[in-house]
């Protein structure tokens, strides 16, 4: 789109990129043409008729093709009718008038029409204050109504479209933005219009209602208050709220968000987060977030929060001072010497992880990342780096997704990968079972659980998929942990890294390996030098353990047992977990909403988050607590300023070299323009004022030599009679500690279930819907059995974090 077009808008000569429609072009030239149905991310439909303008086109001579000149100026021909600015593209020499009496009359008429059956219930409408209809009526509409109140089209108000989103059909202005978003962008066409003409209305008849993990976005782009979330409905007025920039902590995508907060009586006079909104970052999440990010933030505030340090005395946790608690912890850690173990999760910020790693190193202990997935040292070597933007990938590039269900694990990546494919990128999806992304895959390749390494190696063989891949300019590989534990994912990562490295798909923008991690900052932990331990239970037994931001006791009896046999357990967390229940010392940490810090996304972009609400109780930021514990152990670590910790990190860890907080806070102009004062145009997404973040470098971009370890084929357990291979898979909505606090999502989380092929069930004498007992490794649990004929007959599909303590594929007995 390098070609530029010159045209005249309201008498002013402007130059804009070719290919734009008039609304977007005018916007770039600083002229606002009012719209309702047009959205810069959606295909134009021209249905609301708000954007009507006068369009004149230069007349060309039929014979010569040259512009006809009259009185020294090109002759311009205007159509007798007004035309929609949203569906007409700019052309050289066009003359557009947006301010004439004829245009004003059409705008007034359209707003009047839209208001004829509108309920005018702004005082009780959640969108009041950020409503396009309100704003545009003020600017363009008539001030009084000529339509009779009793003749308005009435509907029962509001109706649920599922338990997350409400629909007020009286407020709907039929722009179809929500329907189009679900169809074009989300790929979940679960909204439609029913009926036609004036009785027309939005419906969703999916099971569950509005069955899409992107549903909340429709409430942002709805230009009126027709769609609202159950979470925020009647929660607050937009003008009462403050806004703080943040990063979503629910998955490795790292969506930029804005936390809206308010001090309110119903929260005992506290300042609380009222809603999570997307914040524009075209290179990360554009203007979208998934429903988990939007609705699962509640754990940061509430009764489960830890508010003060505690020490176990006579079997009970008792309140203690910070000094006493950190001193005791330090004492035990010192005593343990090399038996000191840090177990931290990717929920923590880079600053926290850096201090923890420094502490472990200085004290001669170990620092483990709490994760079932390995391979992060390879994403540090050949991961994606500066300039990478999936949003620019298309024809000529290829994306491989292996052993991951992106829709469930990282919804915004799903969305961006899908769009890259629609722009022409080759998409190769390898997974043992069907996933949603298959629908868009250029090639969907099935392999058997355990055969992932071979499946990746086979990609370079002379077959259709391999050829498409190898002749691509750019290749990005996403690898996940579908059916894999630490060893398996390590091997898969090695196979993927080798593929990229051998074929020179590293070290350039839009090339490299991405891990579909479980947590938001797993990548940061890898960069800082954390490793994962295959046999974690063994590694914890008899040790002095410093558990930060993890709940291993909840996650499995094996780990619980190991910790029960640990020498000493210090737990540092935001909320009361099951692991807190066995801790000797408890240290309350601040939630990410209360402090600042940085997270490293799976795409290796470091991004800042900012404090939004006051600190809860006596809690402190993780990095500061670590520094206090360290000081008591005689190790000096920065503990007052997150920015300074980051500077030290940047000076220590090569891939962070050159970065600092100021750099991460830089912003550039992003198109389309959203947020700010023109919410009617892009929706209620916030514009980005606080930083787009920055990519880490890789060994490849630094020009270092890269050597990739050889991938081993994972040995799967052999199955006895009556046993199935239980394979773990990830679900977006699960029963993890932070998720369970979001009551709104309980219905979506559903019951604990496992799935098997109907004939496997028959062989074991089991039937669908039955509660079964699943036992493996001396552990057992109950789950409802579901049948799925797309599965292999040997397989028992077992979602992670759903009450079944499974980290890697195991042989499992299933019985009634």
């Amino acid at each position: 789109m390098d070609k530029q077009i010159s045209l005249t808008i309201d008498g002013r000569q402007v130059t804009v990129p070719a290919g734009l429609n008039i609304v977007d072009a005018a916007k770039q030239a600083g002229v606002d043409i009012p719209v309702f149905c047009h959205h810069p991310k959606l295909e134009p439909v021209g249905m609301c008729r708000m954007c009507l303008v006068e369009i004149g086109r230069p007349v060309r001579d039929r014979a010569t093709g040259q512009f006809v000149v009259e009185d020294g100026a090109p002759k311009i021909q205007f159509m007798p009718k007004l035309e929609t600015a949203c569906t007409n593209k700019v052309e050289e020499g066009m003359v557009i008038n947006t301010q004439t009496a004829k245009v004003a009359d059409a705008q007034r008429g359209t707003v009047e029409f839209l208001l004829t059956s509108h309920p005018l219930d702004c005082p009780i409408c959640d969108k009041g204050g950020e409503c396009a209809l309100q704003d545009l009526n003020m600017k363009y509409g008539p001030r009084s109504s000529r339509f009779r109140l009793e003749e308005k089209q009435r509907f029962v108000k509001p109706v649920p479209l599922g338990e997350l989103i409400w629909l007020d059909r009286e407020r709907c202005i039929f722009c179809a933005r929500c329907v189009r978003f679900q169809d074009e962008i989300a790929g979940d066409a679960v909204l439609e219009f029913d009926d036609r003409a004036r009785p027309m209305r939005i419906i969703s008849v999916s099971e569950p209602g509005f069955d899409s993990v992107f549903s909340g976005n429709t409430t942002d782009i709805c230009p009126v208050g027709a769609l609202t979330t159950e979470d925020f409905r009647f929660g607050a007025r937009p003008w009462e709220m403050e806004a703080a920039s943040s990063i979503c902590t629910q998955c490795p995508v790292g969506c930029n968000t804005t936390l809206n907060t308010r001090r309110e009586a119903r929260s005992n006079g506290e300042i609380v987060v009222k809603r999570v909104m997307p914040r524009q970052n075209e290179e990360v999440n554009e203007i979208w977030i998934c429903d988990k990010g939007r609705f699962a933030y509640h754990y940061a505030q509430g009764e489960q929060r830890l508010t003060r340090p505690m020490i176990r005395k006579e079997k009970k946790l008792a309140r203690a001072s910070w000094d006493a608690a950190t001193q005791l912890a330090a004492e035990k850690f010192l005593k343990a010497k090399k038996d000191f173990v840090v177990l931290a999760s990717g929920r923590l910020a880079n600053e926290d992880l850096f201090n923890l790693k420094m502490l472990a190193d200085h004290a001669g202990g170990k620092a483990y990342l709490y994760s079932h997935m390995a391979g992060g040292e390879l994403t540090s070597l050949v991961g994606v780096s500066a300039g990478t933007n999936i949003g620019t990938m298309g024809a000529g590039s290829a994306i491989v997704v292996v052993a991951s269900d992106l829709y469930q694990e990282a919804p915004i990546w799903y969305l961006r990968v899908k769009q890259a494919q629609e722009r022409g990128a080759t998409l190769i999806v390898l997974n043992p079972r069907e996933t949603k992304l298959d629908r868009y895959a250029t090639r969907a390749i099935r392999y058997e659980y355990g055969e992932e390494v071979k499946a990746v190696r086979d990609l370079t063989k002379a077959n259709e998929a391999g050829e498409a891949l190898l002749k691509s300019r750019d290749v990005v590989v996403f690898y996940g942990s579908e059916g894999l534990g630490v060893a398996g994912s390590q091997n898969l990562a090695a196979a993927c890294a080798k593929l990229l490295n051998d074929n020179n798909f590293t070290g350039r923008p839009n090339n490299g390996l991405i891990g579909v991690w479980e947590r938001a900052n797993d990548q940061g932990a890898w960069e800082i030098g954390f490793t994962v331990e295959d046999d974690l239970a063994k590694a914890l037994k008899g040790k002095a353990v410093y558990i930060v931001g993890a709940d291993p006791v909840h996650d499995g009896p094996k780990l619980a047992k190991a910790l029960a046999e640990a020498e000493f357990v210090v737990v540092q967390d935001v909320m009361t977990t099951e692991t807190v229940g066995i801790a000797d010392v408890v240290l309350p940490a601040q939630a990410f909403t209360e402090r600042e810090g940085t997270l490293t996304s799976g795409e290796r972009r470091v991004q800042r988050f900012y404090p939004a609400v006051p600190v809860t109780g006596e809690s402190r930021p993780d990095f500061a607590i670590v520094s206090q514990v360290a000081r008591n152990m005689g190790v000096i670590l920065e503990g007052t300023s997150a920015a300074v910790v980051f500077d030290l990190l940047a000076a220590t860890v090569k891939s962070f070299d050159g970065l600092d907080y100021a750099k991460l806070a830089e912003v550039r102009e992003q198109l389309p323009t959203v947020g700010g004062n023109d919410r009617y145009y892009g929706g209620t997404t916030y514009d980005n004022k606080d930083g787009l973040g920055a990519h880490l470098s890789t060994a490849a971009t630094r020009g270092e030599k890269v050597s990739i370890p050889k991938a081993q084929k994972e040995a799967l357990p052999t199955l006895k009679e009556k046993e199935l291979l239980a394979v773990p898979v990830n679900k977006l909505y699960h029963r993890g500690t932070t998720m369970m606090v979001a009551e709104l999502l309980h219905q979506r989380i559903g019951e604990t279930s496992v799935s098997a092929h109907p004939s496997a069930a028959m062989r074991l004498g089991l039937s669908a819907g039955q509660t079964v007992n699943v036992s493996f490794d001396g552990v057992s649990g109950e789950a409802v059995l579901k049948l799925d004929d797309t599965l292999d007959e040997k397989i028992l599909l077992t979602p992670r974090s759903m009450g079944m303590a499974i980290r890697e594929p195991v042989a499992a007995k299933v019985k009634a």
Partner: protein
């Protein structure tokens, strides 16, 4: 049983009319089969067709809702749809409709007590020169009845009743 199992040949024949990327075109003809089967279009039928065409149930429902010949509820087994649009009205259709309803002791839009016929006013049916007229939408077919009188209509209803018994 799904439509594809119940009417394999018809479903196949419908699908064969459209190119593979235009599979969704089969939606409207399949809805007619579903309606013929049950007298209306049930939720189960919509699910069935959605799965067959690889679209969502909501997309199917949106199409059912748009068109007036699809019915989501079971009403009279037969629908007498009288054209009362302008050209027919200029030739006495409204009087005919009124008289017919009086005879059946129902109002426009209602169903006779035995559930046999629903009388509805509809828009132009392309038979303006033969008013009064109506179309009889039954389970299997749509038939035009033109140059009608109340007597002839009552006779027709009598025949329908007989064929039911």
């Amino acid at each position: 049983m799904s439509l594809a199992e119940k009417y394999p040949q018809e479903v196949q024949q419908i699908l064969s009319k459209y190119p593979p990327h235009g599979k969704r075109s089969a939606l409207m003809p399949l809805l007619f089969i579903a309606q013929r089967d049950e007298g209306y279009i049930s939720k189960a039928a919509m699910q069935d067709i959605a799965a067959l065409l690889d679209i969502t149930e909501t997309e199917v429902a949106g199409v059912v809702g748009f068109y007036t010949l699809y019915h989501e509820e079971k009403e009279g087994k037969y629908r007498i749809q009288v054209c009362t649009d302008l050209p027919c009205a200029l030739r006495g259709a409204e009087g005919f409709m009124g008289d017919l309803c009086d005879h059946l002791k129902i109002k426009a839009g209602e169903t006779t007590e035995d559930g046999l016929v629903t009388v509805e006013a509809v828009m132009c049916l392309a038979a303006c020169d033969r008013a009064p007229m109506f179309q009889l939408q039954g389970p299997d077919a749509i038939e035009y009845h033109e140059h009608m009188t109340v007597e002839k209509t009552m006779e027709l209803i009598g025949e329908l009743k007989q064929s039911e018994e």
